[in-house]
């Protein structure tokens, strides 16, 4: 449950523990911060992220809500307007659709609609992504949808450092920030510096430098993409892996800088292919780096089906390492 201190000033923990540590730190640092959502308190969080926080901080600040996403997300917006720094947890992105009116019509608009008089310093966390055989109402990746909306920020921590550090930056941001935690990552284990703290929420990161092709991804697909890059290295293809980290605003400079170096790009996105964030990134590459390209930009996305239950079908529906490798092989043609 608690992170163990290891030698060399690092601690070993899981992604879940990293998020919890970030929540604890935020609650300790600022009395205006509180956590609100379904089963965040007594149950300990649907994904056990907030386990133990109720005992530490009490029911006023670890606030169980009824199953009414629209009103508690709206209440989070109202509380932010009223001077608080709410963290609202929605169990999964699919349930956020019950609150989409509040997110899109209120959280995203009020600053602009009020001529800049009111900011919404609100953080909404939610689980996203498939791969757990939870079928078509608990497995989708709609973060790209939210990235369509001006007025909100969308971040997708894929590493332990980001799980630990993005929350503090999101809370410091005066505008609404949506944090999408891919549920498959919660059990990821690793070591981070014991003093790991806030990280920026503006920039993409190059997780693996390479010269031959840019693999651009985020969230739950980062691990699969890095695995693909390692495998490709054995074939003499030196792939660069870009972790977007933030889907809105997109870090054009890092994305385009990478593509200009490698001249080839594959976008890996767990969202559906049509009209997704992958399409947006491809469009930006066409607009700004067309003459640097040596191959058509490719993408590996989820197949266009509601995510099915059976494992082999679900696996086939989601981006996988071998699909990424095949896409890269095609782009590379006969080049070594």
């Amino acid at each position: 449950m608690t992170a163990q201190t290891a030698n060399g000033g690092t601690i070993a923990l899981t992604y879940r523990e990293a998020v919890r540590a970030a929540l604890r730190e935020a609650l300790e640092a600022d009395p205006r911060v509180f956590l609100m959502g379904e089963d965040v308190g007594r149950y300990g969080g649907c994904y056990a992220v907030s386990t133990g926080l109720l005992a530490e901080f009490g029911p006023e600040r670890i606030r169980d809500t009824p199953l009414s996403e629209s009103s508690f997300v709206g209440a989070g917006i109202g509380a932010a307007l009223g001077g608080m720094r709410p963290i609202v947890e929605i169990m999964t992105v699919n349930f956020s659709l019950l609150a989409i009116d509040q997110i899109v019509n209120n959280a995203a608009t009020i600053r602009h609609m009020s001529g800049g008089q009111f900011s919404i310093p609100l953080v909404i966390r939610m689980a996203t992504g498939g791969g757990r055989q939870l079928a078509a109402q608990h497995s989708h990746s709609l973060e790209g949808w939210y990235a369509h909306i001006p007025g909100i920020r969308v971040v997708t921590p894929a590493t332990l450092e980001d799980a630990r550090g993005m929350l503090a930056s999101a809370l410091a941001c005066p505008d609404p920030v949506l944090i999408f935690e891919n549920a498959l990552l919660y059990n990821d284990k690793g070591e981070i510096p014991a003093d790991a703290g806030a990280v920026d929420i503006d920039r993409a990161a190059i997780r693996r430098p390479g010269r031959d092709v840019s693999l651009i991804t985020y969230g739950g697909s980062l691990g699969k993409t890095l695995a693909a890059a390692e495998s490709l290295a054995g074939q003499g293809v030196d792939a660069e892996v870009v972790d977007l980290r933030t889907l809105r605003p997109l870090d054009d400079a890092t994305i385009l800088g990478s593509v200009r170096r490698t001249r080839r790009a594959v976008i890996v996105d767990e969202g559906w292919r049509s009209v997704g964030i992958a399409a947006e990134i491809m469009a930006r590459i066409m607009e700004q780096a067309f003459y640097d390209l040596d191959a058509p930009v490719a993408r590996v996305c989820s197949e266009e089906v509601p995510i099915p239950y059976a494992k082999h079908l679900e696996d086939a529906a989601l981006p996988q390492t071998d699909k990424i490798i095949r896409a890269v092989e095609h782009l590379m043609g006969n080049h070594g």
Partner: protein
């Protein structure tokens, strides 16, 4: 649906003259302002949707004196009366109708989205029911910060059909929050009569079922509205939790400017006009010897000057430069 007359005995006692004339002036001020808006709309100075509250003026004028400046207000898209009664400058409101930079929302909101930080006026919200969760959250923020303030939330009876209404009733009652719910029941949600949309048309009974105090009020009587609002705010400030007022009223004008009123007949409208809040209150004041022609003419002249000045202010106000289009989407303007 025809109005039912309250008997003379039910009516609240008249206040002293100065206060009574303030109430009358407040209602006339809203009426004349909105009549000017209709004219300016026809002349294409004001565009978009324009929803007038003519006939419903007793509600904002009755409620606002019971609120203190620290209280928070959430209103609907039919909110000119609320904004003016709350004390927002008429010139800034009119300039907003024009879409000018001098408007209370810098021309970003228009008629439906009047905002004002100085008076804690959190906007006209043009999503039916969308403002209720905000008011719940504002009340939560007051409670969590140990402040004694009320979040007053105006909405129409059409909102009662929305899920957000019920979620918000439940949440406010469950958490015992200081919300004053003000349901302006004018009998028609656009063109759909209440009995065509609600299985139980007794709206205050729905609120009562959530375990909060609830009253139905003759909202054509500014004194009745004021008395009910005072009972409600006192109870809320005493820590008794949310309070619900069903304010029975009628709009004399169509839903918006572009409405042929196919859904109600002239006789019904005429019958309600006989009970108009301005005409009945004026009559009562005359009978009590508190108002004569000269005093009324004085009020009208004073209001006419204010309306003219507001129009002049709006006309003289600058247009926001298009170069500033993207301002106030994010607090720091660095997002793509």
């Amino acid at each position: 649906m025809t109005p039912t007359e309250a008997t003379n005995d039910d009516r609240p006692a008249l206040p002293e003259r100065a206060q009574a004339l303030d109430l009358l002036r407040g209602m006339i001020r809203i009426r004349r302002f909105e009549e000017k808006c209709a004219e300016l709309y026809s002349a294409m100075k004001i565009r978009g949707f324009l929803h007038l509250c003519i006939g419903e003026e007793a509600i904002p004028v009755g409620v606002m004196p019971t609120l203190v400046p620290e209280d928070a207000i959430v209103a609907t898209y039919r909110e000119h009366g609320h904004a003016l009664a709350r004390g927002m400058p008429m010139g800034a409101v009119m300039a907003e109708m024009y879409g000018k930079a001098g408007g209370c929302s810098r021309g970003r909101g228009g008629s439906m989205h009047l905002f004002d930080a100085a008076t804690r006026f959190y906007g006209g919200n043009a999503i039916v029911g969308g403002g209720l969760p905000l008011a719940v959250g504002l009340a939560l923020a007051e409670r969590m910060q140990g402040r004694p303030n009320v979040a007053a939330c105006f909405f129409g009876e059409g909102a009662v059909a929305e899920g957000e209404f019920h979620e918000s009733m439940n949440l406010a009652a469950l958490w015992n929050l200081p919300v004053l719910f003000l349901c302006e029941n004018n009998l028609y949600a656009m063109g759909t009569a209440l009995q065509l949309s609600e299985s139980n048309t007794d709206i205050h009974a729905k609120a009562a079922s959530y375990g909060m105090t609830s009253e139905a009020v003759d909202a054509m009587d500014v004194l009745a509205v004021g008395a009910a609002a005072r009972r409600a705010t006192e109870a809320i400030r005493a820590g008794e939790g949310p309070y619900f007022l069903e304010l029975r009223t009628y709009r004399f004008r169509p839903h918006s400017m572009f409405d042929p009123e196919l859904y109600r007949n002239k006789e019904e409208v005429e019958a309600w006009k006989q009970r108009g809040p301005i005409v009945t209150f004026s009559q009562r004041l005359r009978e009590a010897g508190l108002l004569d022609d000269a005093a009324l003419a004085g009020i009208e002249a004073e209001v006419a000057r204010e309306v003219d000045a507001a129009v002049a202010f709006a006309e003289a106000s600058e247009w926001e430069p298009v170069g500033d289009l993207a301002r106030d989407v994010y607090t720091e303007e660095d997002a793509a």
